[in-house]
Symmetry: C2
Subunit: 240 residues, 2 copies
């Protein structure tokens, strides 16, 4: 844990349309300010929490970008998700009072620490917050269903296309371009998430460039043919 911590409020957070405060009244919002005890800085490459660590809090990402990974004894390593500003991480820890994956910052980040017992306590008082927490967890379940579909039935091109479209959509909701993005992760991390080897990810990027669907310069991606990209994901002809 990093010592750098700052006390701040949800009520004037610029992420309140995305994060916890969604759908709360002014009065409830101020009550929510008791939720975030501290903010917490996480340097690029360091872990916010790791497998086996005691679970105490959920974290709302204020700035930065994370990956969560699952490591097994036999050396496998699966990236289970990439998280950006306004998203909540740590939900995996609730069941067994300890985390079951690692959360690693892919760029310098800042998170709001929300002690979970506090969340439950305030949730009992503010119905909207209680329901919102349930929605956040349900959303994560539904997201993972989508990843299962991707991993279970899509080919490499479809996987990468779906991945990029998902990132673009989430970035767009945060005010970024719909057609341009900077990847925060390596080809290997993308591959791990998509169930592919890094070489396959690289080759698939090259293929997309050949087909003039996008420009790729290292981690900088610019979409040239968004329709073509979308067609890749929703095309019966490509199913096997």
């Amino acid at each position: 844990m990093h010592p750098q911590t700052i006390k701040v409020a949800c009520s004037n957070c610029n992420l309140r349309e995305l994060c916890m405060p969604i759908g709360l009244s002014e009065e409830e919002l101020s009550r929510l300010d008791d939720l975030v005890v501290v903010r917490h800085k996480v340097k690029r490459g360091s872990t916010l929490f790791s497998n086996g660590e005691k679970f105490t809090a959920l974290y709302a990402i204020r700035t930065g970008f994370f990956k969560t990974t699952l490591a097994t004894e036999d050396g496998r390593d699966q990236v289970t998700g990439f998280q950006m500003a306004g998203e909540i991480i740590g939900l995996d820890g609730i069941v067994n009072d300890k985390h079951s994956c690692d959360a690693i910052a892919l760029e310098d980040a800042e998170v709001c620490v929300m002690p979970f017992d506090r969340i439950e306590e305030i949730g009992r008082e503010i119905n909207a917050l209680q329901h919102h927490v349930h929605k956040i967890m349900s959303r994560e379940i539904v997201r993972e269903h989508g990843v299962m579909l991707l991993l279970g039935s899509m080919r490499a091109e479809e996987r990468l296309a779906a991945f990029l479209l998902n990132l673009l959509q989430r970035l767009h909701a945060r005010g970024f371009s719909k057609s341009e993005l900077v990847l925060r992760m390596t080809r290997e991390e993308i591959g791990s998430y998509l169930g592919l080897k890094l070489e396959t990810v690289s080759r698939t990027f090259s293929k997309f460039v050949d087909e003039e669907i996008m420009e790729v310069k290292q981690r900088h991606v610019r979409i040239l043919n968004a329709e073509g990209l979308e067609r890749l994901v929703n095309n019966p002809a490509h199913c096997h």
Copy 2:
């Protein structure tokens, strides 16, 4: 929705060690009886809820066996899970107030209908119930992480082995044999869940039989070499 419904109580349910009542006091338990409005029978092959349907309740499985599947416009069909007695389904519906997958009974089943607003209401009064609901959702998230690992980094044999071990472990927790089980689903459904074609599932079963790891007669499976099966899942040598 089926008309056959019966009013019953959690407090004398034989699944109370597995299902919702876990960790509640006697008094709290009786309060829980207000949760389950009705029971509901679902015939084999029929759906408990389906994609797009309005979400109103979670369902606790009392008897029977379900699958949940995700269908896409382009004709893909991904089985996202198999659920048995004592498990809760319907969590996917919370985010958008409508279900995002289909739940289909693989054998005649009976579920307890728990209206979700009622769950939230009672959750505000009984801390243990509130926390238990959170745990159930977190458990589902962690389970799905495991499936992502399976789909993202395991080979066919490992996937099927992991799948069988998981089923056996859950059945064992319900008092069934550790070494014998009857599959409730087809090869195709197993394949869909594991990201494999039905032929591959069938061939992998045959391979296990050849290696004397198990006996397989249609849907009846008897484990002969449990260690061998476990070794398949946790073996660094088999990773790619």
